[in-house]
Symmetry: C2
């Protein structure tokens, strides 16, 4: 099927089912502004023989890797958050890591699928951005960055936390952002750092990082407050740092869009 262009407004009002059908046709659309109000997820697929250890890893690192769904081995349908979806095709773009190396960035993973693969969906902070916009909390999304914060290891899984960074102009709105995100631990919950990026090993917030798909941001202004949340890209850093034989993930920024409204995942 041919590609089609959609207006920003069409993407914003689109249903998750319709958006996934577009991704299935091979269009890799950045998801930060699609399907307003719906929760989005990071994808991490590992073989069954390390699936227990990976789930323990996620359990030990819930701010970076909050699990919102787990598939049956070999079954590509996420039973809790989008049972009709197919994780092999319904994301715009994927990444395949072998022995800790990025070896492919395909638009579907049907050729890689095996009967022993287990899919994990990890909440994405784009989800709570809808709650912030609904509360008129204004922010600039700066990007996702590797840090020097160690993960708690489990089995073969170890590495360092990736964070997403947002700038807030207004102290009251920054506090509100902390409150709002605290309500949804399923999509990372509260921030894990405030302020100086150097304190968590980020040397430069403003260099263009192709690996995490962020545009070079305008420099921080003196009155801007930086908040940092755990990011599901941590799983990809772990795949590299742990030299895992195989992990398949989403391509940064092209998340899986679930059928759940982010408010359905909020705990209060």
């Amino acid at each position: 099927m041919g590609a089609k262009n959609f207006t920003a407004s069409e993407l914003l009002e689109m249903s998750p089912k319709e958006f996934r059908s577009i991704a299935r046709q091979g269009q890799a659309i950045h998801t930060s502004r699609v399907c307003r109000g719906y929760a989005q997820a990071n994808l991490a697929i590992v073989p069954r023989d390390v699936a227990f250890e990976f789930l323990v890893f996620c359990n030990r690192n819930p701010r970076a890797c909050p699990v919102i769904d787990v598939t049956e081995p070999g079954n590509p349908h996420p039973p809790r958050v989008a049972p009709e979806a197919d994780l092999r095709t319904d994301l715009g773009k994927y990444r395949v890591y072998k022995d800790g190396k990025l070896v492919d960035e395909p638009s579907d993973i049907r050729d890689y699928w095996r009967d022993d693969l287990v899919g994990f969906l990890l909440g994405c902070s784009y989800s709570f951005d809808w709650l912030m916009r609904a509360a008129n909390v204004k922010f600039r999304f700066i990007g996702a960055f590797p840090t020097n914060i160690p993960c708690v290891p489990a089995g073969p899984f170890s590495g360092h936390v990736v964070v997403s960074c947002r700038f807030f102009k207004d102290s009251e709105e920054a506090v509100r952002a902390i409150q709002i995100s605290s309500r949804v631990p399923a999509v990372h919950g509260a921030p894990i750092h405030i302020g100086d990026p150097l304190l968590i090993g980020i040397k430069d917030l403003y260099s263009y990082r192709t690996d995490f798909l962020t545009e070079p941001p305008a420099p921080q202004e003196p009155d801007e407050i930086a908040l940092y949340w755990g990011c599901g890209l941590t799983a990809q850093v772990v795949a590299v740092e742990s030299k895992l034989p195989l992990m398949i993930t989403h391509y940064p920024g092209t998340m899986f869009v679930t059928d759940k409204r982010v408010e359905e995942l909020a705990i209060l």
Copy 2:
């Protein structure tokens, strides 16, 4: 070592480490009023070959089975919440389920321990009772009851949710109890039912239930509001209903006392 009696006040002010050393000596003390402010946990031990499916089960049923720690296979020390403790000895009393039948209630499980066993600690609502008392929210603990609410199954694990029931005299305090418990999803989070026990399949709140250790409570008064929380005894019902080859648990009411203050587990 000989048994020793402790006053209510001594038990209340005791450290988790000291309390566990008493349990290690074989004393089965009900834990609802010990080690003020510390989080307590249900224990569920299963063999490694079903550990992944059990963790997925817990992930799919977080209100009943919120996981706060997972041990390495064969290692009895819970790394996150009490690394010095030994799950084989540090609870007052245990239960051993084989093929869905309760076969033993020993005071330690050293004779049952194997290199392939994995221990799971699931948050217990006794933990948030400390937060309620600190907030001067008054309640009567009525007991734990099996319901007709089905769990979301995973692998061989299926069954029905067990709830704990508390009565509140004051609407404002009942609302406060919902707010307080919502802050700690690690120990069940918010209630899953309000009001009529029959609606969730509980025929009688007032009959004495030896299996879940509750005393026969005084009947509900007209102004009392009943709130029901998910309960970690769900794992024991699942062991029975699923006829699991082996699950080892705590004995109801004699929980594992962790080194974490419940406030450390709160998400906001």
